[in-house]
């Protein structure tokens, strides 16, 4: 099965987008999930609900609002424009931001659960062994939340691969920059080129399946213990 050069590019952009936004999201969601798992603040429920919110809007509509926000006339985009960074619409960076917003709940939730399940006992033990809080986090909480990170990464990555609505609205289907595989498939379908659409979809599926299987198999191999040890 041969892919057109355009489709190859789209696939490559997709993989970059998924990797970058998943990576950044894991970084950014970690403190949020940690805070959610440990705070006793009564308003926590509202924050938890807010995190889930990106799921509630149809992706194109979310994309539309993000476009309004990140575009040159938007609050964020306008600000970035003024400080010389440039607004985020129709750029790869914009897509990264959009994907991150949209995948936020898939990352925060598993991490939150994983941090909550770790329990305080091992952290207390670490504190008595002279580990300060960041140290405890890095050496105890993080490794014990491995399964949560795996889930978060897999869901965010896969979700970004298949994302369409936010991306087409915010990214604008520009070849080589914001045209990802899902949009390329859409283009083929719109152009009634079903064969090309099927081919690209199949490749996406096969690639993802191999990657995910590999990840899960490795995880099994590396699996050490349950949390209760």
């Amino acid at each position: 099965m041969m892919l057109s050069a355009d489709d190859m590019t789209a696939l490559w952009v997709t993989v970059q987008l998924a990797a970058v936004s998943t990576g950044l999201l894991l970084l950014l969601a970690t403190p949020l999930a940690w805070w959610l798992a440990h705070t006793r603040w009564r308003g926590r429920a509202l924050i938890e609900a807010l995190v889930t919110l990106p799921l509630v809007l149809p992706p194109t509509v979310l994309g539309f609002y993000l476009l309004l926000l990140l575009g040159p006339q938007g609050a964020v985009g306008g600000f970035l424009e003024r400080i010389g960074v440039g607004h985020l619409a129709f750029s790869f960076s914009g897509l990264v931001v959009g994907s991150m917003v949209y995948s936020l709940p898939f990352v925060v939730q598993p991490l939150h659960n994983a941090f909550a399940a770790t329990g305080s006992r091992v952290l207390e033990a670490a504190a008595t062994l002279r580990a300060a809080s960041l140290d405890r986090f890095l050496t105890i909480s993080l490794p014990l939340a491995r399964r949560g990170y795996l889930t978060a990464a897999v869901l965010a990555f896969a979700h970004t691969l298949g994302e369409f609505g936010v991306i087409i609205m915010l990214g604008g289907n520009i070849p080589g920059e914001t045209r990802v595989a899902s949009i390329a498939i859409y283009n083929h379908v719109e152009a009634m080129d079903y064969a090309a659409a099927h081919a690209l979809a199949l490749i996406l599926v096969v690639l993802s399946l191999s990657l995910l299987t590999l990840v899960y198999a490795l995880n099994r191999r590396l699996r050490i213990v349950g949390v209760t040890g």
Binding site: T60, F64, L67, L68, G71, P72, Q73, G74, H87, A89, F90, I168, M169, G172, N173, I174, P175, R179, N187, V189, E190, A191, M192, D193, Y194
Partner: protein, 231 residues
């Protein structure tokens, strides 16, 4: 030497067909970004880096012109869409459209009338035939968000027939399945308009492309062969 074209999804295949001879003739490359007309409009309003907009309607190009986002006077109709009642199954649709009144189907697919011009045309046709209310009431009308989706719904066999664009079903070998071309009197013309966007006002290549699209005979031939009518 690149011209960035935002194009209504239904015309994207035709535009690709146009890009080849255009590049051969001028050396200019078209960068094609297909999308729903409404979405493309929103993107242009929010600073999308397109030079030329080929919409599926006349409304959005005109609005852009009014808003000062497009070059005044550059709007022109580059093609007229032709709706067709189509089924991939031979003999299901008769050439008078009587199948609509005989009701031998469970689902009739159309594009969303509010957002897709072909959907609006389909609604007008059905209303002219006095069938709209009944079909609507009986939940037989299936709406795709774009005419491409409508085509997919019919092609998959899930909806027995539906109104799609002639450009979608006409191939070099003619039209497979069965179809009915409604009388153009039954619906308002599906004018698809193009416009030069403001950021390209000084872009001579973009102007050249629009001129070529409007006046070049080869371009006209390709558009007609794809299933559109001339403006």
């Amino acid at each position: 030497a690149d011209i960035r074209v935002a194009v209504a999804a239904n015309f994207s295949a035709t535009l690709h067909a146009l890009a080849v001879p255009y590049k051969a003739a001028t050396g200019y490359q078209l960068i094609v970004s297909p999308g729903a007309t409404g979405a493309l409009y929103s993107q242009i309003v929010n600073g999308a880096p397109f030079d030329v907009f080929l919409a599926a309607d006349k409304l959005r190009p005109q609005k852009l012109e009014e808003q000062g986002l497009a070059v005044v006077g550059s709007v022109f109709v580059y093609a007229l869409g032709v709706p067709v009642l189509w089924s991939p199954v031979a003999g299901r649709v008769d050439d008078q459209g009587a199948v609509l009144t005989q009701g031998q189907f469970r689902h009739l697919a159309i594009a969303e009338p509010r957002t897709a011009p072909y959907g609006a045309a389909a609604q007008e046709i059905l209303q002219a035939l006095g069938l709209w209310d009944t079909l609507e009431r009986q939940g037989q009308l299936v709406r795709g968000s774009s005419v491409a989706q409508t085509h997919s719904q019919i092609a998959s066999g899930a909806a027995e027939l539906g109104f799609v664009a002639l450009s979608q079903v006409r191939t070099g070998q003619g039209i497979s399945g069965s179809y009915w071309l409604p009388d153009p009197a039954l619906y308002a013309p599906l004018a698809q308009a193009a416009v030069l966007l403001r950021r390209a006002s000084a872009n001579s290549q973009a102007r050249h492309f629009l001129h070529w699209l409007q006046h070049d005979p080869q371009a006209q031939r390709i558009i007609e062969a794809a299933g559109y009518r001339r403006a």
